[in-house]
């Protein structure tokens, strides 16, 4: 089945006002193209889930599409704070947002429970931390098999997950290499899945390397082909992280006015990711890495 559609179409059809949405990707494979389309379509009251809200949710918070944040680290990695996030939490601007806060392991565990349809997931974390005191979803229980006490967290099952990847076929069989973060768990945990890829490949390319398939087409609703769709995040082997932009964001986002001007120019002022790529062309070309190929492996032909 051919599930390839445009980003506009995918967001219109699969992301609704009030939805719980996970655009994941840990530093790697963060789908800014999808976030910008959600902002352009002026979706409302979204519960946004991500381990690291990062610049992507900072932009969505500033644009007013976020009602609630489910997260574990809201900083600009290696740079400092997320300014729009802070304005929303400290001053309620442009609107106040609810926080549902975990640690990384805790949120990973929530996706694991969600993906495997379990009622909770146990983990050895949170001892001595104040996090369980401010989040009643982090609970301590007695092990049914001994004296040990263990913390548990509930499943997270987003309405829709949007996951960026190197490549997929038209049915949505998706391959990822490099940091795979929680892409797989977030996909299996969600009711609907949109995969966004740098490259559309034939089914035979996927079948030639089945160990690299993270998300099967079985659970995918839409495939969007969007080269450079993760910029200023990166795609292993294809383009580097635009670290300079993450540093610039600190300045752009200091004041709501400069941030809004940026959104006007780079999100509202454009119709598609293709226009963003065209406008950003010179900068994107500098992000191409050198080559570092793996040795081919032999799966064997058994006839």
């Amino acid at each position: 089945m051919n599930k390839v559609i445009s980003m506009q179409h995918a967001i219109r059809e699969f992301v609704h006002d009030g939805d719980t949405v996970a655009i994941e990707g840990f530093t790697h494979l963060i789908c800014f193209a999808a976030a910008h389309e959600i902002i352009r379509q002026r979706k409302q009251d979204l519960t946004l889930c991500r381990l690291t809200p990062d610049m992507i949710y900072d932009q969505m918070i500033a644009a007013g599409v976020c009602k609630k944040l489910v997260f574990s680290y809201a900083g600009n990695p290696g740079v400092g704070s997320l300014q729009a996030f802070r304005r929303a939490v400290e001053k309620g601007e442009p609107r106040s947002i609810e926080l549902d806060e975990f640690s990384h392991f805790g949120l990973v565990a929530r996706y694991l429970a969600g993906a495997a349809r379990l009622p909770f997931y146990p983990l050895k974390s949170y001892s001595g931390s104040d996090l369980p005191k401010v989040n009643s979803q982090i609970r301590e229980m007695q092990s049914p098999f001994g004296d040990e006490k263990i913390f548990v967290v509930p499943p997270l099952n987003p309405d829709v997950a949007i996951l960026h990847a190197q490549r997929a076929d038209e049915n949505g069989n998706t391959q990822i290499w490099g940091l795979t973060g929680v892409q797989k768990e977030a996909a299996f945990a969600s009711q609907r899945v949109i995969v966004v890829v740098e490259e559309l490949v034939s089914e035979s390319v996927i079948r030639a390397d089945p160990n690299r398939t993270m998300i099967p087409g079985l659970i995918v609703n839409a495939v969007v082909v969007e080269p450079f769709g993760a910029h200023p995040s990166y795609v292993q082997g294809m383009y580097d992280r635009d670290n300079a932009f993450y540093v610039e964001w600190d300045t752009i986002s200091r004041e709501a006015a400069t941030l809004n001007a940026w959104l006007d120019e780079w999100v509202y002022g454009l119709n598609s990711r293709a226009e963003y790529v065209e406008k950003m062309r010179a900068r994107l070309e500098k992000l191409k890495p050198g080559d570092a190929y793996a040795e081919p492996i032999n799966y064997g032909a058994y006839t």
């Binding site: 840990f26 530093t27 790697h28 381990l51 690291t52 997260f71 574990s72 680290y73 809201a74 900083g75 990695p77 290696g78 740079v79 704070s81 997320l82 996030f85 802070r86 939490v89 400290e90 806060e101 975990f102 640690s103 990384h104 392991f105 805790g106 990973v108 996706y111 694991l112 983990l123 050895k124 974390s125 949170y126 001892s127 001595g128 931390s129 104040d130 996090l131 401010v134 290499w177 490099g178 940091l179 795979t180 973060g181 929680v182 892409q183 797989k184 768990e185 990166y234 292993q236 580097d240 992280r241 670290n243 993450y246 890495p289 570092a292």
Partner: protein, 253 residues
């Protein structure tokens, strides 16, 4: 040899990793420290990044802890579920290296909020992996600049537990990790008293006075009887910091 207080702090922190086999690398300063250790005295140090890498050999200093350079040439790249469960929770990590926005006299770390959680004066990034690193790595090292805003008698929020209320409090948690062992700052190194588990100054950086240290700590701090002077950074360490790891001086100037 001229050097900055930050360069001295980074070199001194890296030396704390001598003999360690597997280190969990935190965001910010710990990142440059662990990479300096690997490039100088500890070439066999295995770097673990919460992003999902074991045995990283970064060719450049990763600005973020999910940089592509930590993947290329690593022993293993994996999902975060495997990293947290099979490496950290399984108990394979010797040292966790953390930064701290706020730290108290018992080494409890706050990276969540300044002020009240519901109505924060300053909203900080939160835990990331620190809450679990703090209890699941065998020991913890902390690096942060010394100032009164950061070094407070009690943190506003315990994101990552240190020695809690001191004494035997942490033992009662019944976790694998023994907690913080040293705090490396730009003015001095602090360790924790055996009995009270209170932070004490054990080494002053060259040309730093006791008064200067006290001015920058929010409680009356004790000094070790055998107070040492921190060795200066070597030429090789400075070269690595300036030429390879931090050419723009983001961390070290």
């Amino acid at each position: 040899m001229n050097y900055s207080q930050n360069e001295l702090m980074i070199a001194a922190a890296a030396r704390e990793l001598q003999g360690a086999r597997v280190a969990f690398v935190g965001v910010g300063l710990p990142n440059i420290v662990c990479n300096l250790a690997q490039r100088s005295h500890s070439p066999n140090l295995e770097l673990v990044y919460e992003a999902g890498v074991f045995g990283a050999r970064p060719a450049r200093l990763p600005l973020s802890i999910g940089d592509p350079t930590i993947v290329t040439g690593a022993v293993s790249a994996m999902g975060m579920a495997d990293l947290f469960q099979l490496y950290l929770q399984r108990g394979l990590i010797d040292v966790g290296f953390l930064g701290a926005a706020q730290i108290d006299k018992f080494g409890n770390i706050n990276t969540t909020v300044i002020g009240d959680y519901q109505k924060p004066k300053v909203r900080l990034p939160g835990s990331g992996g620190a809450a679990e690193i703090a209890v699941l790595c065998e020991k913890i090292l902390v690096i942060t600049r010394l100032n009164k805003r950061a070094f407070v008698p009690r943190v506003d929020f315990i994101t990552s537990p240190g020695h809690l209320e001191g004494g035997g409090a942490r033992k009662k948690l019944n976790v694998r990790g023994r907690g913080p062992e040293a705090v490396i700052t730009d003015l001095c190194i602090l360790r924790f008293a055996e009995d009270t588990r209170e932070m004490i100054v054990t080494s002053l950086h060259p040309n730093v006075t006791r008064e200067k240290v006290q001015e920058n700590i929010g409680w009356e701090v004790r000094f070790a009887e055998a107070l040492k002077i921190t060795p200066e950074p070597t030429e090789r360490e400075l070269e690595l910091i300036r030429d390879e790891l931090d050419p723009h001086g983001l961390y070290s100037r």
